[in-house]
Symmetry: C2
Subunit: 86 residues, 2 copies
Protein backbone atom coordinates (compact mmCIF):
# COMPACT_ATOMS: atom_id res chain seq x y z
CA UNK A 1 0.00 0.00 0.00
CA UNK A 2 1.29 3.40 -0.95
CA UNK A 3 1.33 6.37 1.32
CA UNK A 4 0.15 9.70 0.01
CA UNK A 5 0.85 12.82 2.05
CA UNK A 6 -1.37 15.89 1.91
CA UNK A 7 0.17 18.99 3.47
CA UNK A 8 -2.22 21.81 4.28
CA UNK A 9 -0.79 25.23 5.11
CA UNK A 10 -2.38 28.63 5.57
CA UNK A 11 -1.86 30.83 2.52
CA UNK A 12 1.11 33.20 2.92
CA UNK A 13 -1.17 36.25 3.16
CA UNK A 14 -3.24 34.75 5.99
CA UNK A 15 -2.16 35.51 9.56
CA UNK A 16 -0.93 32.43 11.41
CA UNK A 17 -1.26 33.03 15.16
CA UNK A 18 -0.13 29.49 16.04
CA UNK A 19 3.06 29.87 14.07
CA UNK A 20 3.65 33.34 15.47
CA UNK A 21 3.26 32.05 19.00
CA UNK A 22 5.88 29.39 18.34
CA UNK A 23 8.23 31.89 16.67
CA UNK A 24 7.99 34.35 19.57
CA UNK A 25 8.56 31.67 22.15
CA UNK A 26 11.78 30.41 20.54
CA UNK A 27 14.19 33.19 21.69
CA UNK A 28 12.86 32.83 25.25
CA UNK A 29 13.72 29.15 25.04
CA UNK A 30 17.21 29.85 23.73
CA UNK A 31 16.69 29.27 20.02
CA UNK A 32 17.77 32.27 17.95
CA UNK A 33 17.87 32.68 14.19
CA UNK A 34 14.39 31.50 13.23
CA UNK A 35 12.82 34.37 11.26
CA UNK A 36 9.37 32.91 10.79
CA UNK A 37 7.30 29.88 11.69
CA UNK A 38 4.15 28.70 9.94
CA UNK A 39 2.16 25.83 11.36
CA UNK A 40 -0.04 23.61 9.25
CA UNK A 41 -1.49 20.15 9.02
CA UNK A 42 -0.10 16.96 7.55
CA UNK A 43 -2.36 14.09 6.53
CA UNK A 44 -0.88 10.67 5.77
CA UNK A 45 -3.26 8.56 3.68
CA UNK A 46 -2.74 4.83 3.17
CA UNK A 47 -4.12 4.17 -0.28
CA UNK A 48 -5.41 0.75 -1.31
CA UNK A 49 -4.36 -0.32 -4.78
CA UNK A 50 -2.08 1.48 -7.21
CA UNK A 51 -1.49 5.21 -6.95
CA UNK A 52 -2.02 6.05 -10.60
CA UNK A 53 -3.13 9.32 -12.12
CA UNK A 54 -6.80 8.53 -11.47
CA UNK A 55 -6.14 7.83 -7.80
CA UNK A 56 -4.06 10.99 -7.47
CA UNK A 57 -6.80 13.06 -9.11
CA UNK A 58 -9.27 11.60 -6.63
CA UNK A 59 -7.01 12.40 -3.69
CA UNK A 60 -6.49 15.90 -5.04
CA UNK A 61 -10.26 16.35 -5.13
CA UNK A 62 -10.57 14.89 -1.63
CA UNK A 63 -7.95 17.30 -0.31
CA UNK A 64 -9.55 20.25 -2.04
CA UNK A 65 -13.08 19.54 -0.87
CA UNK A 66 -12.48 18.04 2.52
CA UNK A 67 -9.01 18.36 4.01
CA UNK A 68 -8.23 21.97 3.11
CA UNK A 69 -10.26 25.16 3.22
CA UNK A 70 -9.03 26.55 -0.06
CA UNK A 71 -10.27 30.04 0.78
CA UNK A 72 -7.49 30.40 3.33
CA UNK A 73 -5.30 27.31 2.85
CA UNK A 74 -3.01 25.86 0.19
CA UNK A 75 -2.33 22.15 -0.07
CA UNK A 76 0.18 19.84 -1.71
CA UNK A 77 -0.23 16.16 -2.57
CA UNK A 78 2.85 13.93 -2.56
CA UNK A 79 3.33 10.21 -3.07
CA UNK A 80 5.69 8.83 -0.47
CA UNK A 81 6.33 5.12 -0.59
CA UNK A 82 9.34 4.74 1.62
CA UNK A 83 9.31 5.26 5.34
CA UNK A 84 11.20 8.37 6.36
CA UNK A 85 14.05 8.26 8.78
CA UNK A 86 13.52 10.06 12.04
CA UNK B 1 16.76 32.20 3.69
CA UNK B 2 16.30 28.48 3.77
CA UNK B 3 13.14 26.76 4.76
CA UNK B 4 13.31 23.83 7.14
CA UNK B 5 10.24 21.67 7.61
CA UNK B 6 9.53 19.77 10.80
CA UNK B 7 6.80 17.15 10.49
CA UNK B 8 5.34 15.88 13.74
CA UNK B 9 3.18 12.75 13.65
CA UNK B 10 1.72 10.59 16.38
CA UNK B 11 3.72 7.38 16.80
CA UNK B 12 2.14 4.44 14.92
CA UNK B 13 1.10 2.72 18.16
CA UNK B 14 -0.75 5.79 19.45
CA UNK B 15 -4.45 6.07 18.65
CA UNK B 16 -5.22 8.98 16.32
CA UNK B 17 -8.89 9.98 16.73
CA UNK B 18 -8.57 12.95 14.35
CA UNK B 19 -7.23 10.76 11.58
CA UNK B 20 -9.84 8.08 12.28
CA UNK B 21 -12.62 10.64 12.06
CA UNK B 22 -11.35 11.74 8.65
CA UNK B 23 -10.95 8.16 7.46
CA UNK B 24 -14.48 7.19 8.52
CA UNK B 25 -16.00 10.25 6.90
CA UNK B 26 -14.45 9.58 3.49
CA UNK B 27 -16.77 6.76 2.26
CA UNK B 28 -19.78 8.86 3.27
CA UNK B 29 -18.38 11.64 1.10
CA UNK B 30 -17.83 9.33 -1.85
CA UNK B 31 -14.10 8.63 -1.47
CA UNK B 32 -13.36 4.90 -1.32
CA UNK B 33 -10.03 3.11 -1.15
CA UNK B 34 -8.33 5.00 1.68
CA UNK B 35 -7.34 2.38 4.24
CA UNK B 36 -5.99 4.67 6.94
CA UNK B 37 -5.51 8.35 7.71
CA UNK B 38 -3.11 9.83 10.24
CA UNK B 39 -3.18 13.53 10.99
CA UNK B 40 -0.18 15.43 12.26
CA UNK B 41 1.46 18.81 12.32
CA UNK B 42 3.79 20.51 9.87
CA UNK B 43 6.02 23.39 10.93
CA UNK B 44 7.77 25.51 8.31
CA UNK B 45 10.72 27.39 9.79
CA UNK B 46 12.45 30.21 7.94
CA UNK B 47 16.05 29.97 9.08
CA UNK B 48 18.36 32.98 9.03
CA UNK B 49 21.84 32.22 7.73
CA UNK B 50 23.17 28.96 6.37
CA UNK B 51 21.56 25.66 7.20
CA UNK B 52 24.70 23.77 8.10
CA UNK B 53 25.07 20.79 10.37
CA UNK B 54 25.18 23.01 13.46
CA UNK B 55 21.95 24.75 12.50
CA UNK B 56 20.28 21.43 11.74
CA UNK B 57 21.40 20.02 15.07
CA UNK B 58 19.91 23.07 16.78
CA UNK B 59 16.62 22.68 14.90
CA UNK B 60 16.56 18.99 15.74
CA UNK B 61 16.93 19.92 19.43
CA UNK B 62 14.23 22.58 19.05
CA UNK B 63 11.85 20.09 17.48
CA UNK B 64 12.59 17.49 20.11
CA UNK B 65 12.15 19.79 23.10
CA UNK B 66 9.48 22.14 21.87
CA UNK B 67 7.57 21.14 18.73
CA UNK B 68 7.06 17.46 19.40
CA UNK B 69 6.05 15.48 22.45
CA UNK B 70 8.46 12.62 21.93
CA UNK B 71 6.59 10.38 24.35
CA UNK B 72 3.76 10.04 21.85
CA UNK B 73 5.06 11.72 18.69
CA UNK B 74 7.78 11.17 16.09
CA UNK B 75 9.25 14.01 14.08
CA UNK B 76 11.31 14.49 10.94
CA UNK B 77 13.47 17.48 9.98
CA UNK B 78 13.88 18.29 6.29
CA UNK B 79 15.63 21.13 4.49
CA UNK B 80 13.44 22.44 1.71
CA UNK B 81 14.78 25.35 -0.27
CA UNK B 82 12.53 25.45 -3.28
CA UNK B 83 8.87 26.40 -3.14
CA UNK B 84 6.61 23.45 -3.72
CA UNK B 85 4.07 23.43 -6.48
CA UNK B 86 0.48 23.27 -5.42
Amino acid sequence: MARVVVDVMLKPEILDPQGQAVQRALPRLGFEGIADVRQGKRFELQVEGPVDNAALARIHELAETFLANTVIEDFTVKVENAEESK
